[in-house]
Symmetry: C2
Subunit: 492 residues, 2 copies
Amino acid sequence: MSPIAERQLYIYNSLSGLKEIFNPINNNKVGMYVCGPTVYNNVHLGNCRTFISFDIIFRYLKHLGYKVRYVRNITDAGHLENDADEGEDRIAKKARIEEIEPMEVVQKYTVDFHKTLAKFNTLPPSIEPTATGHIVEQIELVKQILDAGFAYEVEGSVYFDVLKFNESSTYGKLSGRKLEDMIHNTRETSGQSEKRNPQDFALWKKAQPEHIMRWPSPWGNGFPGWHLECTAMSTKYLGKQFDIHGGGMDLKFPHHECEIAQGEAVSNCSPANYWVHANMLTLNGKKMAKSTGNNILPDEIFSGENEIMERPFSPTVTRFFMLQAHYRSVLDFSNDAMLASEKGFSKLMQGLSLLDTLDTAKETTGFDLAEWRKKCYNAMNDDFNTPILIANLFDAVKFAQYVNDGRKSITKEDLNALQTTLHNFVYDVLGLTKEEQEGDHYLEDALQLLIELRNDARKRKDFATSDKIRDELSKAGIVLQDGPQETTFTLK
Amino acid sequence: MSPIAERQLYIYNSLSGLKEIFNPINNNKVGMYVCGPTVYNNVHLGNCRTFISFDIIFRYLKHLGYKVRYVRNITDAGHLENDADEGEDRIAKKARIEEIEPMEVVQKYTVDFHKTLAKFNTLPPSIEPTATGHIVEQIELVKQILDAGFAYEVEGSVYFDVLKFNESSTYGKLSGRKLEDMIHNTRETSGQSEKRNPQDFALWKKAQPEHIMRWPSPWGNGFPGWHLECTAMSTKYLGKQFDIHGGGMDLKFPHHECEIAQGEAVSNCSPANYWVHANMLTLNGKKMAKSTGNNILPDEIFSGENEIMERPFSPTVTRFFMLQAHYRSVLDFSNDAMLASEKGFSKLMQGLSLLDTLDTAKETTGFDLAEWRKKCYNAMNDDFNTPILIANLFDAVKFAQYVNDGRKSITKEDLNALQTTLHNFVYDVLGLTKEEQEGDHYLEDALQLLIELRNDARKRKDFATSDKIRDELSKAGIVLQDGPQETTFTLK
């Protein structure tokens, strides 16, 4: 069955608040833009969840046979503190604190970002443009917005005129905010700001003398506003109107609202057809925050060097944990949830291994492969519902166990099809990876033999030998545990 | 002993043809710029050698206590075929062939480049700027060179006036070429080119309609000349005059010659004080070239999937192989040379492990630790002579074996100092890594225990048990070999 035949994909569009049939602009090609990180600190786990969510969307679209151009940017300039139009650049501030050049900050945290996402097995995007890499394009865009009459210059800065824009369009349509309410709720009195209206936002800011990151422009030395880069880069690589625009839920307002305004101002069309937002991750029921200590970095999970988790968890288990929730749901990260995910992941992978060992029969009983396969696709086609998909994958694992126990049977053909579909979903679509390292089976086999020799020694009452085995292994950090059925081992 | 005390570093300066004492401009801080890759194909082994050579320089300078700002660029635009001023952009050409957008080519091969260099354990540079990320700076630089009278505009392109430059400076001083000879040897007749003189080079090129990568400029839509980016980026991040400029030997002319001309044209000083060039890598005595098949990619070495090498070699062994030659020597890559390096590397690492097990004595005999340490530093201070350093490290390994055999002795204090120095050089300076994977010691320990139990069983004539151990291990792919002294194992 060709993957293309599985297409009837629905995507929840934040713009309409509805799940809509996905119809790309150019038949078989999909353009997707996702707002990437501002590289001024180590990537946090919530960001990772967002990028893993879009990695799933990227992988599934490719699995369906689309040629996807996935653009995810790196914000390396222009993002000021508190997402505001005044204050210090986040990267420049970090550079000042660390006493290095801003681009050294950018490099340090870009390297960290790439390393961490690679551990989570996310695919690199097709293009990864940077804000500082598109200053020319941003200046050109400001010129166009000025020419179109939607911006004004004040003292070397250029601001977007939100009221003017709202005359012909609706500012706030993505986030569901009304401009009148925003104006009503604003306490800022005119005169304190260069802006005509507090809702206006900066397209280009004049650089104060202490501002290190600056470029020449028709309005003097300055730097681009934070919202501008995404419009400049998305339209450069995907055209003025493209298919999917994604990002974290927190970017809906003002960032994406401003992108829509900028895009519409110069092209009279909404920049993206489907706006997709990934939800947040909490930790033990509370918002993650460095200030309260309710915070954990990915590497702290993998190393176990943290006070929140009982022990380390691997990147692929962490990824699996995230995929067990739908990307639009809030997800809570906790030790118990991770323990459960680890168990589930292990069960799934054992099920996959079990398939390699099954005997086949003349008929398949108790499992409708075509129906099951359809359910898997239905789950993903329903706005990328990975938890439902995973539940279906577990149904297949359960069936495999029944076949193994001799309670059900499967034909060779069905077994092949089942394996192919499971591999596609587990490895290609969900991007999970086998955990065992090269060489691990040697250790497993050697330890099984030692456990056997210990049992032999006990039987012949040779306790010197059985104790020696236990004690020597313990010295090496390998702890044997005698259960009612069998002896297992743990590595310290 | 403070590392700073070891300083009396000499660096071979291509500009003078002499080894010169290294005196950085700003005391304890070093600025180093190295020409990075043009990202239009998988990084080849020769490039890796260059970047490993500069990684050693970066690491050693840091080891000496310098604060190093190491800038290595990514060329993602402007590098035309045959390093010329006419023809297709290398990246755009690849994009045309692969039917993707040029920046997708850039992303694909940047990711490959980073992955490969990470396998070789090279440290990321402090800043990794891109040519497209510095269009504004390049345009500003062209303006400055025009203002200084060293360039001229023709039909939307701007060229550097080499004859004019040669009136006040010497074009060719780095590569030892004379401008008169170049002019004499040029067959190009005037009239076929926009250039006043065939030696002139492009600072900015007008974009032909088919040229995809283009930016607006005061001279119309176009793109920067290849040599321009390095001047723009090195001076932006390191100042108009900095300490070290490096690159592959093949970049000496015209690339670095042109950089010197551009730099001197706007600042009246030579851009870099020390010009450092890494030599090339040959394969089986011949130049590597895709066209002849005399070519091997790093991943083909690591996987063993190639027709040149007998079997796979690890990245760290490949790195060690490269460090066994001086960076300014031509190095030939071959199966035999790699086998020898693998053996040497293994001997070095075994020596390091041996140190952990040595008994100490009241005096050290047959080894002058201070003298040996000085020799190690002398080697590195003599233009980063890694092969001499490695020879010295082997002297220490040999001494450790003598101590182990009881032929020599060492005090506890000396042993600690020896270990520290060796670790510094092996791990920090040479950037070598232990090959054993996480968990390997478990296997080692479990197998040692099995070998012991087998010996116990033999002693008590329990051949059923001793055979069982050998046979079960053999089934698991672990082969025991009984030697005269001890039993060893091999993994199949």
